[in-house]
């Protein structure tokens, strides 16, 4: 089965990709996802960002499941 994830881009990451959300298939973990992302949007290499899987930030490579929501989060600047 080919898994499908829902990608969300915020802040500067949304500016760089030109998108707020995207569907992505054929990857199995966050490391692969990151490689694909940079392939598609080289501009992402110029910024720092964290990755959240289902609203939790993941620091290490994480297995992705079908219908997971993955968010690309540049450094926060609320308050």
């Amino acid at each position: 089965m080919i898994i499908k994830i829902n990608l969300l881009f915020f802040g500067q990451a949304a500016d760089i990709t030109g998108k707020a959300s995207w569907n992505f298939s054929g990857i199995t973990n966050t490391l692969e996802l990151n490689e694909k992302l940079i392939e598609n949007f080289p501009g992402l290499q110029t910024i720092k960002y964290s990755i959240a899987v289902n609203r939790k930030i993941v620091r290490e490579n994480t297995i992705l499941n079908n219908e997971d929501t993955v968010a690309i989060l540049p450094p926060f600047s609320g308050g």
Binding site: Q12, R55, L73, F76, G78, G79
Partner: protein, 147 residues
């Protein structure tokens, strides 16, 4: 007499002084409160590369932000002896000079309210997925970074 009811954190646009006054006034019926600590974040008109910040436009990953606000809230109630806690954060455009963050803690003795308020502000700045876009006069912008 602990008020732990959840309320919406995000409010559209700036947080007005009248809203803050109203929040304070509501606590006069809670007569076991001895101390309130309040933090207000105000948008600065920083000059960056000779351009002045006119406003900040806030966006958030709301679903995740609400979860983190909830965590911050629960942790503060566990760690400190608080009577009430309220957090409000602006979404959308807030002009320089206007208020975008309002953290309000209340306790019987002052140390709890003060320490909780400080800790909540630090956690919000570091952990909540909110982004501020600094809008310059003339429609250009840059993404804010927290110090």
């Amino acid at each position: 007499m602990i008020d732990k009811k959840k309320h919406k954190v995000f409010v559209d646009g700036a947080i007005g002084p009248a809203f803050i006054a109203d929040s304070i006034a509501k606590h006069s019926t809670k007569k076991n409160i001895g101390a309130h600590s309040i933090f207000l974040g105000q948008v600065r008109n920083d000059i960056i590369n000779e351009k002045e910040v006119e406003a900040i436009e806030y966006t958030a990953y709301s679903e995740m932000a609400e979860e983190i606000f909830h965590e911050i809230r629960e942790a503060a109630f566990t760690k400190y002896s608080l009577t009430c806690m309220h957090i409000y954060h602006s979404i959308g455009r807030v002009n320089a000079g206007e208020i975008s963050l309002f953290v309000f803690t209340s306790s019987v003795h002052r140390k709890d309210a003060i320490q909780a308020c400080n800790e909540i502000v630090e956690r919000i700045k570091n952990e909540v997925p909110v982004w501020g876009k600094e809008i310059f006069s003339g429609e250009t912008y840059q993404w804010k970074t927290n110090s």
